[in-house]
């Protein structure tokens, strides 16, 4: 069970405040807290882990430069997730343009596998990791965000609701639907891993 990164919203507020006062180390703490969530959100949109990390970095840098414009620091995670999704769309658009205009080639999936193999995950093979990523990336965005914020970032449905400005009941229903869908789609893989 992942541990919740924000049990107190005050800490987020304090970190934002300190960052705005010029303490870059406070921003480092924000990055540490939400790095996994931001990378996971990016990975749910782009298949390349290196690209996902680039997107995550760019997202944090954008968040840093626009931090003074964050109206409610207690919704930092929700705000970061929106910036990340926007960065993903920008990156995808750029890739498409690059492919169309300059003839860039996308990295082949096989070579990606080689790169991703260093991922610290003793329990899953690379094929299984890809299968999980593909399954989640096919889900509607509202489900993907729930899955990542809950299972990767470790936020509870109450915290997710607060971050996204939605009602906890709505988030709970959405998460359970996403969970059931995922469980059904990943059933063969789970059996494989269990055995």
């Amino acid at each position: 069970m992942p541990e919740s990164p924000i049990m107190t919203t005050e800490t987020d507020k304090q970190l934002v405040k300190s960052t705005l006062l010029g303490e870059t180390s406070a921003f480092g703490a924000i990055v540490e807290r939400y790095w996994n969530m931001v990378v996971a959100l990016a990975l749910s949109k782009v298949s390349d882990p290196a690209e996902a990390e680039d997107i995550a970095q760019e997202s944090f840098l954008k968040a840093y430069s626009q931090l003074a414009g964050l109206r409610d620091p207690s919704r930092l995670a929700g705000w970061l997730s929106k910036i990340t999704m926007q960065q993903c769309y920008n990156s995808i658009r750029k890739s498409v343009r690059c492919k169309n205009v300059m003839g860039c080639k996308a990295t082949p999936l096989d070579s990606l596998d080689e790169i991703s193999a260093v991922t610290a995950n003793p329990g899953l093979t690379q094929n299984q990791i890809d299968f999980v990523r593909r399954t989640i990336s096919r889900m509607p965005e509202k489900f993907r965000t729930m899955i990542v914020m809950r299972f990767v970032a470790g936020l509870s449905t109450v915290q997710i609701a607060e971050q996204l400005g939605k009602r906890p009941g709505t988030v709970r229903v959405r998460l359970l639907r996403a969970y059931k869908l995922l469980r059904k789609d990943l059933a063969p893989l789970l059996e494989e891993v269990e055995s």
Partner: protein
């Protein structure tokens, strides 16, 4: 089975991250002896682990934090930007749009309720023991304090301050008691006013005819030109411009 239902709910709260430590310990204890719940819980934990591992970053969060802080220090162009005026204006614009929408809703509601209320509004003045008799054509009535004219009908209540208006093709009779009536003839306007604690009939213009029971007490009809007292049982008062 009933017990398992309870633990199935615990598993759901585990999924949404709101399970308490006590509930989790209870669930784990139960799972040791119940195969069905054990499999369910195990599958749930495994699914979460699989997702977490599949989406884990190659760079640790600590490394990423340190690297980004180093980059912020090394690259001076990466700096905090002051809150843009545009952000504030945008917030103001959104507030203005919200206020506009609320105002429009308010106006619409006010208009609707006002219209609805006006037709059913009860005047603040007292009701008088006068009823509406025969009506020819459409006679209009307006309650005191209102600017809405309504068609008078036989079931209309009559209030102090009411103004009755007949046109060239309409007339009506007001029943003052069992045997007394006051007829408002064509092109006339009659107002019920309070005078010395009594209801006073004020003929603004036009003509009205009173038919009173015999004998009757003092009965007056006021006009812009003076006050007329009824001596007999039947009389007509006319107010003209001449």
């Amino acid at each position: 089975m009933m017990t398992c239902e309870k633990y199935k709910n615990f598993i759901l709260t585990y999924i949404d991250g709101t399970i308490t430590d006590g509930q989790l310990a209870e669930l784990k204890t139960h799972a040791e002896t119940c195969e069905s719940c054990r499999m369910e819980f195990k599958r749930c934990v495994l699914l979460q682990d699989v997702v977490k591992h599949a989406f884990s970053s190659r760079t640790s969060a600590e490394q990423a934090g340190t690297a980004l802080v180093a980059r912020l220090s090394a690259e001076p162009h990466l700096r905090l930007r002051p809150a843009r005026l545009g952000t504030a204006l945008f917030a103001g614009k959104r507030a203005a749009i919200a206020a506009g929408i609320l105002l429009a809703i308010g106006l619409l509601l006010g208009f609707t309720l006002g219209r609805a209320g006006k037709s059913a509004r009860t005047p603040l003045t007292a009701r008088v023991p006068i009823s509406v008799g025969k009506i020819e054509g459409t006679v209009l009535v307006r309650h005191e304090g209102s600017d809405v004219w309504q068609a008078l009908d036989a079931s209309s209540n009559v209030y102090l301050g009411d103004t009755f208006h007949s046109t060239s093709r309409s007339a009506c009779a007001l029943r003052l008691d069992e045997e007394s009536t006051l007829e408002l003839n064509q092109n006339s306007m009659l107002i019920l006013k309070l005078y010395n604690g009594e209801t006073q009939f004020f003929l603004e213009h036009g003509e009205c005819t009173a038919s009173l029971e015999s004998p009757h007490g003092p009965f007056f009809i006021s006009t812009p030109n003076g006050r007329v007292e009824a001596m007999g049982t039947e009389f007509t008062v006319t107010v003209t411009d001449e």
